[in-house]
Point group: D3
Chain length 337, copies 6
């Protein structure tokens, strides 16, 4: 049987392998289907993932004793197999497979995750809370994140299923970037109540901890689909405030309004338009940060795919299907001409 | 000074008065403004209302001892004055004015109110709750309406500020009409869970008790403008459920989804589209009932304004500015030709 | 040669067959194409259908004397063949094929058809006409459906090519459901002229008998594409009324308006918005019934495809690509947890 | 009493009159209302029109024996009165008024009318019909316009209530302009069937003869509002074709499609998009001709209102509220600088 | 005749005047019309403006020798008159009027103007140009603003005719605010080329110097209406670059793209969407700054109009007709309760 | 090695070839990619094009000395190979390949090109310029096209990458068709300044000479994507006018407005709506001509694909996905029935 070893081969590495080369490593099972060949022989079709990507895998002999009987979508498994290509598509032929023992492999290795240091990001978030002058808002945020399960989820959650920051820790990474931007913008416009803006930044997407689930890839929960992260976030805040006697009624209304209106338009799912300066500013910086990240990702993807520095990217879904051009690369390439 | 008497003259009656005829009655002060004449003499410009309409009034001698010093928007006042017309516009010239003593006049006489018997409507609502087979839903509705202040507001609230059912008791009248329609539709489609649909009907607009205020005419509260009745209603239900241990989590999600999605489209302020059959049905019957009421009102208005039975109405705001035709009147008029 | 036998094997049954199992049955030819293999050998590629679905079929030896020379799209054929799978796609290998003799197979077996008893549905429709108090409307409907060819088409027509009620008898099934709903809604709103509403229900889609054709699958006729079922229906009614001396001019206008406006919006192909209460109500119940049927079909499809009771369905085309959840199944599954 | 005389004073002439100058002339009564003065004295408020415009008029002594008792909206009346201004608004003070005797005044003098010779326009229309090579289309048009009442209405009808060609004879003037344009465009694109295009031009707006009424100003009929000129036009053609045995079924479909699709978009009230080249061309030239006329009218209005030659016009309603500039006038003014 | 004196009475002061009080001051003539009274006497109707507002004025005796014969829209005039009110509308009765001699009055006093020090703003702009590392961009901006007429116009131009920053110096004030914001945002996103962003900020609205004219109130030029400030700005830049040999072709394309795309959407008049990160950022900060200024103005207007600190503002045109709430005022008022 | 021979085999011819038949001919390399087989053997995947279409090609032995080492996208190559089919897709197996010597093959043979005589089209364009009465406009056009590089590009450019007139010479063909149409329309509407309209026709799309590039298939340039042909065209005209002293300023504004507004709507990329009659007319005829060409192409495609004369075409992308019907073919087919 396969011995337990720490993961040292990632899916991104396989692209460089020769046809047929054997290896073993841990993966997350993303899908598992029973199928039959043309000659009616049953086999298993799997999709395996880790933090660098995903790949199809085939178990041609599911009855082999070296293949575990009991494993399912969401399990981490140890696989021994070899690499092949079918019609330009990479594939793993699985020879041995067993479930990972508890502690043998790290869940964070199994899904795409932020490249940033999560503890450092978290410390920045805590620092922002600490910096608030408004005692009520500081108390609200402190009380909310005192729930350790919620805090853990906040550290882990992706910011989206597919678009920007779609990786573990993405929510936190996005929020911390926004905190920096919010401080800059609040300093520029004296009209803005900086504490309320910071509070809005920290709370606007908090409902994503229950709207999304990231045990087996990134997906929406049924509750998430039926209620949405705006409503879930509002409820988390309402219930926390209910436990804070003396929290000013007007401040409660403003905080909730920040969450409700942060998508900026009814047709984007906000039931209210921003009607206070801080809500208006939050909507702008949230949108700008998401788009700057989408731009960054589009350039990285183009570079990974070997596009010339002075080509336009493919059409970017998160930016209304427009193509983008990297100013810096294009100018640099122009200078070389 | 003016003696207290029950209101027996209504604004709608004044249209029939001769120029200059004197009268006295109770009214609600809807607006009060200081103005000056061309010759720089100060006077008061008022708008007075009662349940049959509203009318402008002028106090040409605000210093006269028979005119109360202290009264404001929202007060009920006893007025002695006379009726006049200025450029085809009816007006009251006020000779005496004092604040009504408590109990002297009935608030319900001062704003437009349902023509239906509110106690009977309330009994129908209670009967619907009683009829529910699902014990959890029955418990939820019972607990919520056990709050007497809330129940009182539910009985009084208009259904809207301006469009359909914009009168005291309008919310209740609309809900009771919907309960009848919901029973008919649920009986037609076995797919529908009748109890969930009925619950949705009773709760969908409950947030209007705080979104609107009707002390001095109908208006939105600041909280109502910033949060909206959908969010307010969801919060009322969330907090009631929080007090009901054992309320099934999934049922809670569905009830909340009914409220969140009942406007049917994002651009109408629902952050979620209806995704369960009952939410879809609720959106349809709510919309149909509001539109049928708008049709009815348009016909009544046309008839009040002396339109011929076979003319089209004016453009109806609540129906995308289209004109309407009364089938029955038009055919009847055709038969007479 | 193949002997004639009644159809006892349906396409839906084939899914359960072992690879290679032989069978014979009648099918409708939905498409027929000449192709060549890589090695340049000609073969026939067919799509065969019956009321349970459709399947690809290959005739590898089109020159074989057991394969009829003369057959075409739209013919019913008797096929002897065997079942196979190619890349998970079911396929029939055809060994023998001949055209069905007249009377050998029932056309109604060859296309998806209503599960309801068409005679019973028709009787309900006739009962509704019988129930009308308005003699002119009763006369109009009776005269129109006295045309036996039209009546036959009304019984057979699908309600749509693809969306809701896309099966033989679908139009009638949809209309009969609407008649029940119309009676309930008319009883709820005294404002409505029940006879006009019922007439609108029966006539609103009657133009589909010429807009669609269902000889070889469901498709639009050229006339249907150029004129549309609204215009075709209006013309059928106009010409019937032209043969009814004394039919009131105003009633004619209202009936035509019901048909013209039933899609409710210009951008949905209605050249006029509903402007009478009955047209408004017809638009609502027509839309609701179509959507409730789409919901029902989505749940049935999910169940056929083995989705868990508490999963969301796939995105539903007829409901703006939203996903749906079956209230009853989800709650049931929740109770089992 | 007023003697009968031919109309020699027009509303447009009054602008030049001195305050108080007396005159008499024939006018069409466009509205008639009973009112009372502030001092409660009854008077009549009229709007009088003729082909050059309209003006308000007051009858201060409706009981005077020189004022006819019996007259109404739609009547032509002989008025003796004097001219005055009230807050910059012109007004007629009426001293005597009687109904015109039959034949005393010409209806065509009473409403805005084309400046073109209607007989000449009609001859051009007839010439176009005569020029058709397709015998069926020629027969259809000839049969339709053989109905003398219809032909009379076709000669009189405005093309619209308010926008382009809103004057008597406007429909005919618009159609004749289109016939010229159609011939030019058909000559340019050999793909086009000129006869079908010409037929479409003549028939596309024919339903306006019943959609509009022009007895007392320009207005929509109830039938027009409920059915629309597209449907009315289609019905006129359908019934004419029904009386032409042997008219080719396909040609009928194409002619009807031309009418149905001529607005070019669903949201403009066409239930079908143009799907044949002639329908596409008709939509373009119809739209272009209406817009060129709107441009022309905007320039004429600006010139009437004394705008400088090189100013932009006011916002033009028929052109999405854009402002226009007269190329020729602007360049000319530039040359003078 | 009126002696020359510096302006010491402003239109905003008149509101506090008693009826009939005499005064004299300088004003800009915004409109001048010949009119006649009811009794046919000619008079002049003027609109006079200065930097604090505008007011109607009447010259009842235009033939009086103390009234100048020759003056026109756009002239600065010295007026002696008295203040009155007509139907609550303030008005000036003019007794004497003469054209101001050159130098007697300051044009900047006559139109609303920025409250900021224009020289200081200009110095900030120059400082930003000085700070650029990219020599080509620095050269471009320097060359462009070396045109003294253009530089003068840049200092004077309003940023809009009506919406945000609609006052003299508004363009410069808006640009300087953006420069501060751009530096903050560029520091936050290393992806951004700060020099290109700063250049875009300075150039994006430069075409407004010819799109608008501000001699007699704020209006569009004909060229501005036909070409728009985007095209005018692009042309200014193109022609400046044409005079800079060796300016890199790619950099030219990027600078032009910044201007072309800064409205962010085709329907807002940008012929191109932002496709480089700097253009995306420019669109966001430009929009945010305009909206923050609109918010500020709405709060100032509400405060001027005496709205309570905790009321919503009127609907704000520049923010899709939404109402706004001042966070700080509302919370403060809440604390006082 | 392959000897040089004129191209006599076109891609369109290959469809009729037997499997495996050898041939040699010149082609343009449209794409070139390195790939590996499943067994890890490298090969080249090419797309080859000529004026009749494009086809995939495989070089299985890229190391073979008969295969050139150095060739790239955009090169014309001489290929010897054989024809095959893989899953119904045509393919060329390449045995020998070398770059074409200069002059050996005609570039115009390599891309789809107009069927019209380019010299004759150009003469028509020159004739239109010659016919202008306005000396300034004639001078402008003459000066612009005196640039031989620009004139060459104008003759070669396609009118679009994909939609209408997407072939070499397509721009010129489209413009010449428009010139004919413009003359007809200008003759019909005396309001129009024919010279300005003609100038607009010639200049409206001139920016496409730099927006598109057609060396290796049709594609957008980066400048084209960032600036667009409207801006590029305006710049060409601005700079030409800058070299024509005395060109009237107003005429310049009008010419530029014609180019800027010719797409007719902001959302189609025109930053200004047409505001002069000539711009309005240009927008209409440009749109009509493009659509008539799309109709023509759709009919030709349907006929090439063997559609029956009386079928509807496939959905046409350039016409909002609608299907089209050929009037003439459908009627002809109807007559045969």
């Amino acid at each position: 049987m396969l011995a337990g070893r720490m993961k040292d081969i990632y899916i991104a590495d396989l692209a460089g392998f020769d046809e047929g080369r054997a290896f073993d490593s841990f993966f997350l099972v993303l899908t598992k289907q029973q199928r039959t060949t043309k000659s009616n022989k049953p086999y298993l079709n799997l999709v395996l993932g880790d933090k660098t990507g995903q790949i199809e895998a085939r178990v041609w002999e599911p009855g082999d004793p070296r293949i575990a009987r009991e494993f399912d979508r969401g399990d981490i498994v140890k696989v021994r197999g070899s690499f092949s290509r079918y019609e330009d598509r990479a594939q793993v032929k699985v020879d041995q497979l067993r479930k990972a023992a508890s502690g043998e492999a790290d869940k964070l290795d199994m899904l795409p995750a932020t490249a940033r240091d999560v503890d450092a990001l978290w410390a920045q978030l805590m620092g922002s809370i600490e910096s608030l002058a408004n005692a009520n808002l500081k108390q609200l945020l402190t009380a909310l994140l005192a729930d350790t399960e919620l805090a853990k989820a906040y550290r882990e959650a992706p910011a989206a299923r597919q678009l920007h920051h779609a990786w573990l820790g993405g929510l936190l990474e996005h929020v911390v970037s926004l905190l920096g931007l919010a401080d800059r913008v609040a300093a520029h416009y004296p009209l803005l109540d900086r504490d309320l803006l910071v509070t809005g930044v920290i709370l606007h997407d908090i409902g994503k901890v229950r709207e999304l689930e990231w045990d087996t890839g990134f997906d929406y929960t049924v509750e998430g689909v039926l209620l949405g992260h705006i409503q879930i976030g509002v409820d988390l805040v309402e219930k926390t405030i209910a436990g804070l006697p003396g929290f000013p009624e007007r401040l409660r209304t403003l905080v909730l309004h920040m969450i409700l209106s942060h998508h900026g338009k009814l047709e984007f799912g906000s039931p209210k338009l921003p009607m206070i300066p801080e809500a208006l500013a939050l909507n702008f910086i949230d949108d700008l940060d998401a788009k700057m990240m989408a731009v960054q990702q589009a350039f990285e993807k183009a570079s990974r795919e070997g596009k010339a520095a002075d080509e336009l990217t493919d059409k970017v879904w998160a930016l209304d299907q427009r193509q983008l051009l990297s100013t810096k690369e294009w100018l640099k390439a122009g200078n070389r001409e």
